[in-house]
C-alpha cells in the first residue's frame, strides 16, 4: 500500500519489471512527478511576471492605485469564489472516482467545467466594460493617461490574459477527462490522469489567489 519509495528503487524496478510477465505497465509515481515538474515551469513563468509587477509597482505605485480604481473588487472577488469553488468540485470529482462512483465523478467534473465557464464569462464582462471605458491597449484614452497607468493596464491584461488562456486550456483538459472516464480509460483503479488534470486546474486557482489582491486590492 505504501507509496513511499525512493528514486533508486524505481530504477531497479524498471529493470526487473521488463522480465515480469503480466505486470501492469504503469508508473503513477513518475506520471505525477512529471506533472509537478511541468507545474514548476508554470510557476517560474508566472513568477517572472510577478517580478516584473514588483519592479513596476515600486516605480509607479500612485498610478497603480489610480489604475486599480478602475477594477471592480466585487467582480474580482466573485471570480475568486468561483475558482475556489471549482477547485473544491475538482477534488470531489477525484474523490468520487476513487470511491468507485463514475457518475459522481463526472457530475463534479462537469460542475468544475461549468464554474470555469462562469469565470470566463465574468472576465469577459469585466474586459468589455474596460473596453467601453477606453481602457485597452492602444486605446486613445489609455494612451493619454500617465505612464504608470499604461504600465498597470499592460500588466493587468498580460497577466490576467495569460491566466485566462490557462483557464481555457483547463476546460479542454477537463473535457478530455470526461471523455476518458466515459470511455473507461480513466477508472477507479486508474485515477492518476484525473489527478494530474486536477493539479493543472488547482494551479490556475493558485495563480488567481495572487493575481486578485495584487491587481484589485490596491487602495
Amino acid at each position: 500500500m505504501s507509496t513511499n519509495i525512493n528514486a533508486e528503487a524505481i530504477t531497479n524496478l524498471s529493470h526487473q519489471e521488463a522480465h515480469t510477465e503480466g505486470h501492469v505497465h504503469r508508473d503513477d509515481y513518475g506520471s505525477k512527478l512529471g506533472m509537478w515538474l511541468f507545474l514548476f515551469t508554470e510557476l517560474l513563468l508566472f513568477g517572472g511576471l510577478f517580478v516584473l509587477y514588483m519592479a513596476y509597482r515600486h516605480d509607479y505605485f500612485p498610478m497603480f492605485q489610480l489604475g486599480a480604481k478602475e477594477l471592480k473588487i466585487y467582480m474580482g472577488g466573485l471570480n475568486t469564489l468561483v475558482l475556489l469553488t471549482s477547485s473544491l468540485t475538482m477534488v470531489l470529482s477525484i474523490t468520487a472516482l476513487q470511491r468507485k462512483s463514475i457518475k459522481g465523478s463526472i457530475f463534479w467534473l462537469l460542475t468544475t467545467i461549468f464554474f470555469a465557464f462562469g469565470f470566463l464569462i465574468i472576465k469577459f464582462l469585466e474586459w468589455s466594460e474596460k473596453y467601453h471605458h477606453g481602457l485597452f491597449p492602444k486605446a486613445e484614452n489609455l494612451l493619454n493617461q500617465p505612464e504608470g497607468v499604461k504600465v498597470f493596464f499592460g500588466l493587468y491584461y498580460t497577466m490576467t490574459g495569460l491566466h485566462g488562456i490557462h483557464v481555457i486550456i483547463g476546460i479542454l483538459i477537463l473535457s478530455y477527462m470526461v471523455i476518458r472516464i466515459l470511455n473507461g480509460k480513466v477508472t477507479p483503479d486508474k485515477f492518476v490522469p484525473l489527478e494530474n488534470a486536477g493539479l493543472y486546474w488547482h494551479l490556475v486557482d493558485l495563480i488567481w489567489i495572487f493575481l486578485f489582491p495584487l491587481f484589485y486590492l490596491l487602495h
Binding site: 501492469v24 508508473d27 514588483m54 515600486h58 473588487i73 488547482h202 489582491p213 486590492l217 487602495h219
Partner: protein, 102 residues
C-alpha cells in the same frame, strides 16, 4: 486486476481526504478571501501589501497541501516544491534589492 502486493508502490492507491475535509478547506479559503477584501478596505499603509500577500500565502498552503495533495505525497515532491519556491524567492529578493535601492 491490480495486485497491490506486486505493484511495488508504483500504482497509486486512494488515500484522499474525505469529502468533509475538502469542504472544510474550501470554507477556510472562502473565509480568507472575505478577510482579504475586508482588510483591503482598512488603511494599513505599508502593511497592506504584506498582509494581502500573507493571506494569499496561507491560502496557497491550503490549496497545495490538501487540494493538490502534496501533504500525502512522497518526500521527493515536497523537496522539489520547496526547491522551486526558493528559486522564485531568490529571484524576487535579488530583483527587489536592485529596484528598491537603486
Amino acid at each position: 486486476m491490480i495486485d497491490s502486493q506486486k505493484d511495488d508502490g508504483r500504482i497509486a492507491h486512494a488515500h484522499s481526504p474525505t469529502y468533509g475535509v475538502n469542504i472544510m478547506v474550501w470554507l477556510t479559503l472562502v473565509s480568507l478571501t472575505v478577510i482579504t477584501i475586508a482588510i483591503a478596505g482598512l488603511n494599513l499603509g505599508t502593511f497592506t501589501l504584506a498582509v494581502a500577500l500573507l493571506i494569499a500565502a496561507i491560502k496557497s498552503y491550503y490549496v497545495v497541501s490538501y487540494f493538490m495533495h502534496i501533504k500525502f505525497e512522497d518526500k521527493l515532491f515536497k523537496i522539489c516544491l520547496i526547491f522551486v519556491l526558493c528559486i522564485v524567492l531568490v529571484v524576487m529578493v535579488l530583483t527587489a534589492f536592485d529596484v528598491f535601492y537603486r
